[in-house]
């Protein structure tokens, strides 16, 4: 049981990394990864929202939608729940923990329309995970998001000082750098499977 959870956790971070292997959440990856502190702040907010929305949507799906044969409403219900949840968390943080709001809260509105959040919720259901597995999957996905963001922030700061051919300047070279980082993550694919084999 515990072994299985560790397997899901490690797979989500390395072999199935949300950004580098599954292409979920590319917008913040390209937009916010320029500085290390913004990359970390954004990633922490993503981990938090992913775990929270998984914890909330799982019972809604199991006890409300599946029970009443309303599975086809999943997409519409989940996106609304996530949007409402993010808004609520933002309001609560602003009122009661302003210090945390100042460091994390500013990233919250950006996350509503982040595909990683809706993606993890949908993936959990497609994979038929139970509550604990879903939660671990969400946190693992978030940590993987953070690993990729932080690593890429480092790569980008090196890119700044490079002499780049004119036609590749800007977005193209950023994408090619992302391709190389993604290539390194491809190497993890067999590793995680073999540890638990």
């Amino acid at each position: 049981m515990a072994k299985e959870l560790v397997f899901i956790f490690l797979t989500m971070i390395f072999a199935q990394n949300f950004i580098l292997q599954k292409f979920l959440g590319i917008c913040p990856f390209l937009g916010v990864s320029k500085k290390l502190n913004t990359a970390v702040g954004m990633s922490l907010a993503v981990i938090f929202v992913m775990a929270l929305s998984t914890a909330v949507t799982y019972p809604i799906n199991k006890y409300l939608l599946v029970k009443n044969d309303l599975e086809y409403l999943q997409t519409i219900v989940f996106i609304l729940v996530i949007a409402a949840l993010v808004q609520m968390v933002e309001i609560i943080l602003k009122k009661y923990i302003p210090s945390l709001y100042n460091s994390l809260g500013i990233y919250l509105p950006l996350i509503t329309t982040n595909c990683a959040v809706l993606g993890v919720v949908t993936l959990n259901i497609d994979n038929g995970y139970n509550f604990m597995q879903s939660l671990i999957c969400a946190v693992g996905g978030g940590v993987g998001f953070m690993v990729a963001m932080v690593m890429f922030a480092g790569v980008r700061s090196r890119l700044e000082s490079c002499d780049i051919p004119k036609f590749l300047k800007g977005l193209p070279i950023t994408l090619i750098a992302a391709s190389l980082v993604s290539l390194s993550f491809l190497g993890f694919a067999g590793v995680v499977d073999n540890i638990f084999a």
């Binding site: 959440g25 086809y72 609304l80 809260g105 509105p109 800007g170 193209p172 190389l180």
Partner: protein
């Protein structure tokens, strides 16, 4: 006559000048994820275009009814409804495509192109021009996906349009590229190949734009983000303003 001319402009701007993927850098996630083959790229492009056109029409028709304050949630509900309809249609009639697109089919809801067009165009313009704008943007999106899918499928699998029969019917079912068919460069259909081909296609698009005197594509960060107005990040933090995001 003037009306007709501007409609033509709405249609063509989305295809070339304001191509959502290559010029505005929106919808990068599906662009990278679903272009492993031409068939799934076209499937994604067409599904997203249908949602885009329908949601543009409805949002434009309701633009005077939806209160300003709750417009974003209202748009999301409208878009999510159409995504659900498309999802059910795909599941019923093209189950192969449903398998190929997987989680990315419901994720059309959070495709920034759709919410972005709702906010930037459909909420300010009439029904007809919104529909045409959606059609143009949809064609532009599909065309960009087609280009990416062609490059990745030919290099990565050595085929072209394999499995297209399941999508559109008929007898044509793609063909094999000699040599590459026996020695495919698998990396191009894997994740790194996606980033690499996208970077190269973007570089070519930038080069073409430059020769026509158009500015380079930059990630606009907050400016093109549909949440920009409700989002507090751009005032309090420099992490997301245009200057910062200018790669």
């Amino acid at each position: 006559m003037a009306e007709k001319k501007s409609l033509g402009k709405e249609l063509t701007k989305g295809i070339i000048l304001e191509n959502p993927v290559l010029r505005l850098v929106l919808g990068t996630c599906p662009t990278l994820a679903t272009t492993t083959s031409v068939t799934s790229a076209l499937g994604m492009g067409v599904s997203a275009s249908i949602v885009l056109i329908c949601s543009n029409i409805v949002i434009s028709a309701l633009r005077k009814v939806i209160p300003q304050k709750v417009r974003i949630p209202a748009y999301i509900v409208i878009i999510a409804s159409f995504v659900t309809i498309v999802q059910m249609l795909v599941k019923a009639f093209v189950p192969v495509l449903d398998e190929q697109l997987g989680v990315y089919l419901p994720l059309i809801v959070v495709n920034c192109i759709i919410l972005g067009r709702a906010e930037a165009f459909a909420s300010k313009n009439g029904v007809l021009s919104s529909a045409v704008d959606g059609l143009g943007m949809g064609i532009g999106f599909t065309a960009a996906l087609f280009v990416m899918g062609t490059v990745r499928e030919i290099l990565g699998a050595g085929t072209f349009m394999a499995g297209i029969k399941d999508l559109i019917g008929g007898t044509f079912n793609g063909f094999d590229i000699p040599f590459l068919n026996e020695n495919p460069m698998l990396i191009f259909v894997l994740a790194p190949g996606g980033f690499f081909v996208f970077g190269m296609v973007m570089a070519v698009a930038n080069k073409l734009a430059e020769s026509k005197g158009q500015p380079k594509a930059v990630l606009h960060g907050c400016e093109n983000c549909p949440m920009a107005k409700t989002c507090s990040i751009k005032d309090t933090h420099e992490g997301c303003n245009t200057k910062e995001a200018e790669a």
